[in-house]
């Protein structure tokens, strides 16, 4: 009877008396209402719940046994899985996979800079990074190419730049903000007062400034210590919320994600996504266990090499940051030639080169500085206590000696000598400002692409369907079919 029927058309899942999922071993009677969709994805008698099969396929991803999981364990027929897999996602995946190869390159770059960590290399890197960031003009005004003439503080700071960048990428608190903020001071640090170069404020030959300082862009100090940390915190918080909204995830896990970020643990995109999906699925117990056993999932997982590759990408990426900032800054500059508003926002200025000679810088020797400072100190205050001066010893001493020691004036002189040029640098084209903004734009763009990748991946996984086949290639005698009629 069944044979006759078989001649007409091959039986399908619907004709089976009992359905048994080969994965979870749950049985279902043919006539009972179906709760979970079964599929017959191959050419033998094995059938399974589509959900079980998709789970099996999904967990195999990234472990090197995707191909084994995507075929029948018995007849080895490849499963046909359909999903929404647009060209964009395939492209992003290919890039992601091939970045693995680039990782090695990145890693070697990072290796070169960090492990080979000769002081020299770090210094050169730091100088290159700083030059990229603040622009040639300011760099030449303050530091020049001659590393031997740099003040000690500048050297100490610049040597730390590569490490700072990497730590920053890991989300570890580091002195990067301070470096970004204090670069103008590098030229005027105390340890090498002999090299001190300050604007001689008494010299009237100083040319008028091409553009007067307007208080915009904000000073590097304000930016490095206040604006940047604030923006970063806001950005992280709101981008995370935005991501969760896009991915349709509940937000209670926010605390956990933030912790992970702060500890510098940045799991791969897919892992993060899958973790989140598992978390969203509920079952806290299973989730915890999964996390504990994550590494035990597959003995063939190349845990170490994956970590190294990730580290390579991370370090390489961190060290490329100045170049990215510089490129983005140039891009913004070009863009600003079309948009006046952007131009004003970036505070683009003509700079010193061209008609205007650079500001005249004068060297004070340490001795001269102290001499001048002492002079200011003992000079009688012009109108007793009206100036900024703090009268040494208070009014009593003042009354006794007739004229006070004008500490304030002396201090002002020293500070003016030390920080005087900072104002001058403010008059330079604020390359650092547009570079910083440009890097921000880059970070936003990168995060958006990553989010799009995650969203597409999630949709791809969610839309997967295993193709169901009939039993035309199976010996019908092996099947327990529902009798027709």
């Amino acid at each position: 009877m069944t044979n006759e029927k078989g001649k007409g058309r091959a039986p399908t899942l619907a004709d089976l008396r009992v359905k048994l999922c080969y994965i979870c071993r749950e049985e279902e009677q043919g006539d009972s209402p179906s709760t979970k969709r079964f599929v017959h994805p191959c050419n033998c008698t094995l059938i399974a719940h589509e959900a079980c099969l998709l789970e099996w396929i999904r967990t195999s991803e990234g472990t090197g046994r995707e191909n084994t999981a995507r075929q029948c364990p018995q007849c080895k027929t490849p499963y046909e899985v359909e999903s929404q897999n647009p060209a964009v996602l395939r492209f992003l995946r290919a890039v992601d996979r091939n970045l693995g190869g680039v990782d090695l390159g990145f890693y070697l770059v990072g290796f070169g800079f960090v492990v080979r960590a000769v002081y020299r290399a770090q210094l050169n890197y730091g100088a290159w990074a700083l030059r990229s960031y603040i622009g040639n003009e300011v760099f030449d005004l303050t530091l020049t190419n001659d590393t031997s003439s740099w003040p000690l503080v500048a050297k100490a700071n610049i040597v730390m730049i590569p490490a700072s960048l990497i730590l920053a990428r890991l989300g570890i608190p580091q002195p990067l903000g301070a470096i970004l903020a204090t670069w103008p001071a590098f030229a005027f640090a105390f340890p090498r007062l002999d090299d001190l170069r300050v604007v001689d404020t008494t010299n009237n030959n100083t040319p008028p400034l091409p553009v007067t300082a307007s208080g915009w862009p904000p000073s590097p100090f304000f930016f490095g210590f206040v604006l940047l940390p604030l923006c970063r915190r806001f950005y992280r918080y709101y981008f995370l919320r935005f991501s969760r909204w896009v991915m349709g995830m509940p937000s209670p896990a926010a605390g956990r994600e933030r912790n992970a970020n702060e500890q510098g643990v940045r799991p791969t995109l897919l892992q993060r996504l899958l973790d989140n999906m598992e978390r969203a699925a509920g079952d806290n117990n299973a989730d915890n266990n999964n996390n504990n056993n994550a590494n035990a999932d597959d003995p063939n997982r190349q845990v170490i090499s994956v970590d190294m590759r990730r580290a390579g990408r991370l370090i390489g990426g961190a060290l490329l940051a100045p170049a990215i900032a510089s490129t983005m800054g140039k891009f913004l500059l070009r863009l600003s030639q079309r948009f006046g508003l952007l131009r004003r926002f970036l505070g683009v200025r003509p700079g010193w080169t061209g008609i205007m000679p650079p500001p005249q810088l004068r060297r004070y020797s340490a001795r001269e500085l102290w001499r001048r400072a002492a002079q200011e100190l003992v000079e009688p205050a012009p109108s007793s206590a009206v100036s900024f001066g703090v009268h040494f010893g208070g009014s009593g001493m003042h009354a006794e000696t007739g004229h006070g020691l004008n500490v304030g004036k002396a201090l002002r002189f020293v500070l003016g000598a030390v920080w005087g040029d900072v104002r001058k640098l403010d008059e330079c084209d604020p390359v650092w400002w547009r570079n910083a903004l440009g890097f921000g734009v880059f970070v936003l763009a990168r995060d958006l692409v990553q989010l799009a990748h995650m969203w597409l991946t999630q949709r791809e996984i969610a839309t997967r369907r295993v193709r169901d086949r009939d039993f035309s290639r199976v010996d019908l005698g092996e099947l327990d079919l529902i009798a027709s009629e």
């Binding site: 994965i23 967990t59 090197g64 046994r65 018995q74 079952d283 266990n289 003995p299 063939n300």
Partner: protein
């Protein structure tokens, strides 16, 4: 308990109780859905004749999606068989427990595979890198990255 593993293991257990284990394999304990013990003995002519070994299965909550961690028990006087694919700490180098695991396999089918692995062995000898491996091996054999070099033994 609503995890995938407990439902499936319950079915496997029921089957074992109803149909019994294959010859030479005995269920020792299966008190929970995390750890099961079996004894395994090679029947007929073999270098392991009349030697009984104890196998331990450890299951994760997403078994059978993830493979069970299977080892020979080497405590309380029990010993692992001397075999080129079995380390003296009880760890087993078998591809079906690693990258060739499939949910279609079951506890009993793993036992049978391991039984036949012992039965086909011609000469009792430890794995070449036994000492080195045992010194550095993780507690869970699933964390080891085995290289499956040879299918003949």
């Amino acid at each position: 308990m609503a995890s995938i593993s407990s439902r499936r293991l319950q079915k496997e257990l029921t089957e074992i109780h109803m149909e019994g284990c294959p010859v030479g394999i005995t269920l020792v304990k299966a008190d929970d859905f995390e750890t099961w013990w079996f004894t395994i003995e090679v029947m007929g002519e073999s270098v392991y004749r009349s030697e009984v070994y104890t196998l331990q299965f450890r299951f994760e909550p997403n078994y059978p999606i993830s493979a069970p961690a299977v080892t020979f028990v080497v405590t309380d006087g029990r010993k692992a068989p001397l075999h080129p694919h079995v380390y003296s700490n009880g760890h087993i180098c078998a591809s079906i427990l690693g990258n060739e695991w499939s949910p279609v396999l079951s506890v009993v089918s793993v036992c049978i595979t391991l039984q036949s692995m012992l039965a086909s062995c011609k000469k009792k000898e430890p794995p070449v890198d036994n000492d080195r491996y045992v010194r550095t091996a993780p507690d869970n054999p699933k964390k080891t990255r085995f290289v499956y070099h040879d299918d003949t033994v």
